[in-house]
């Protein structure tokens, strides 16, 4: 392992958070812009503190202590059991494995923050700040560490090869661990908070509520690219032993999958609506990054391109499905872009990945089992956790706050005090 290259890559990850923050605040209304950015900072701050204090203990690392149980003649390694407050990590160089484990702590701390930012996009314009902080704490302290242990901490999903004669589940850049977990959290938040007032008419027709700053959204995409390259590179080095040459491949693959996702979304929207849609193009870009991150170091550039194209098309249609057919109000498209494209990315690893062990079929099966664990175990857990939090601290702002905007309602001041804020001509009162 090249620790300097890994550390350098880890330092780029916060740019992914900055990019996602710009995207979801730009796709929301101007009257909630300051709230969206403050919510992002709070989510990252809370998740960093809670993860380092508690979450890392559950997430663990390969070779560390674990909670396991025996069932069906198999030992199921399901949770890490390190000491709280990161006391198991030595930063002074006295421990031979300390460097590796401290890098795991670094990358997972940022990864937990990224996962906490994803649902903000689905709750834009109505999710209150205090519940956001509580939900971020729950995500970083319990939910994210469980799946992080299964994939990055040597848990049962990575041991499918040894225990069941299959291949181990692969999630090199966190498509499942970060993006799908965050996307499923976004789905739960969208269900519980409900749609923005005026989003759907009485007969169920969706009203377009355009984002207030598409320029920031596009800039956010470029920032996210840099952050994603750092995330994919660091995770590939740390969890899959990628060398400098493979890291160069990771960079190329990340760029190609993002480009393919964006262009696919642009072409699809151009074909369907006669003009390319900027916000869906941005969503396609992020969908490409998300899907490509699962296999970043293990596929050829052509496979990364294919993964990105499918992700861009899939995200575009899923956004439409959720909004128009299922009436789920997700202003930033987080469910489709992070959960939908992330699941596709995990399956694409099995389909396109270069592996030295196991057949193509066993890899596909291992990836499908991972997806089943995300939908069948993590989603109910995430949903139940959010329901519980919503019972103690209601997620949704009251009716007046819905019209007033989250900035005035929760912060007492708007993001653009010198600008005249117009009424929503496009939303029936």
């Amino acid at each position: 392992m090249n620790p300097a290259l890994c550390l350098l890559s880890v330092m780029l990850i916060p740019l992914a958070a900055a990019g996602l923050a710009l995207i979801h605040q730009g796709l929301g209304r101007s009257r909630s812009a300051a709230h969206a950015m403050l919510a992002t900072l709070c989510a990252v701050a809370v998740s960093a503190i809670v993860f380092v204090m508690f979450g890392f203990s559950w997430a663990g690392f390969a070779g560390g202590g674990v909670h396991s149980f025996a069932a069906g003649g198999v030992l199921w390694d399901w949770l890490g059991t390190g000491p709280f407050f990161a006391r198991g990590i030595s930063f002074d160089g006295s421990d031979a494995t300390g460097l590796n484990n401290s890098l795991v702590l670094c990358i997972e701390m940022f990864a937990a923050g990224l996962a906490a930012i994803v649902p903000l996009s689905a709750g834009t314009d109505r999710w209150r700040l205090a519940p956001i902080c509580l939900a971020s704490a729950m995500l970083a302290g319990i939910l994210f560490p469980i799946f992080a242990h299964w994939t990055w901490g040597g848990g049962w999903l990575t041991q499918l090869g040894a225990t069941f004669g299959l291949s181990g589940f692969v999630d090199a850049g966190g498509a499942g661990t970060i993006q799908v977990v965050g996307g499923l959290m976004a789905l739960s938040v969208a269900w519980i908070a409900g749609p923005r007032r005026g989003k759907f008419s009485d007969d169920g027709m969706a009203t377009a509520i355009p984002g207030h700053n598409i320029v920031q959204v596009m800039f956010g995409c470029l920032l996210a690219l840099v952050g994603w390259i750092g995330l994919d590179s660091a995770a590939s080095i740390l969890f899959y032993g990628a060398g400098p040459l493979q890291v160069a491949g990771v960079v190329v693959n990340a760029m190609l999958s993002a480009s393919a996702g964006c262009l696919a979304a642009v072409v699809v929207t151009r074909a369907r609506y006669k003009k390319p849609d900027a916000s869906l193009g941005a969503n396609g870009w992020i969908a490409g990054l998300v899907a490509g991150s699962a296999a970043c170091a293990m596929v050829s550039p052509v496979a990364a391109l294919d993964t990105g194209i499918v992700a861009g098309v899939l995200a575009t249609y899923m956004i439409e499905l959720f909004e128009l057919r299922l009436q789920v109000d997700d202003p930033g498209g987080a469910i489709s872009v992070h959960a939908g494209a992330g699941i596709w990315g995990l399956i694409a690893v099995g389909l396109f990945g270069h592996f030295t062990d196991g057949s193509r079929g066993t890899h596909v099966l291992a990836q499908l089992i991972g997806v089943a664990a995300l939908l069948g175990f993590m989603l109910p857990l995430i949903y139940a956790g959010n329901l519980l939090l919503n019972r103690f601290m209601p997620y949704r702002v009251d009716g007046d706050g819905d019209w007033q905007g989250m900035d005035i309602r929760e912060l007492g001041a708007g993001a653009y005090p010198e600008f005249v804020v117009h009424a929503d001509e496009f939303v029936p009162r």
């Binding site: 069932a71 069906g72 003649g73 198999v74 499918l160 069941f164 789905l187 269900w191 409900g194 749609p195 007032r197 005026g198 989003k199 759907f200 008419s201 009485d202 299922l326 009436q327 789920v328 109000d329 079929g361 066993t362 596909v364 099966l365 499908l368 089992i369 997806v371 089943a372 664990a373 939908l375 069948g376 175990f377 989603l379 109910p380 949903y383 139940a384 949704r396």
Partner: protein, 59 residues
């Protein structure tokens, strides 16, 4: 409807885990895993349907 959706999600996962433990052949494991995923997708669909009436109240 929401409760049934949640139960379907968990059931789908249990189908996958049971197939992994009980079935030795690759083809059967794959078939049951795909079936389990199908049950989970059904669960998500039911949960989403379950939230539609509640959303009407918030319009």
């Amino acid at each position: 409807m929401r409760l049934i959706g949640c139960l379907l999600l968990v059931s789908g996962f249990l189908v996958v885990v049971a197939a992994l433990v009980l079935l030795p052949r690759f083809g059967l494991r794959l078939a049951f895993t795909v079936a389990g995923l199908g049950v989970e997708v059904l669960g998500i669909g039911l949960l989403t349907q379950g939230y539609k009436p509640a959303q009407k109240e918030q319009r």
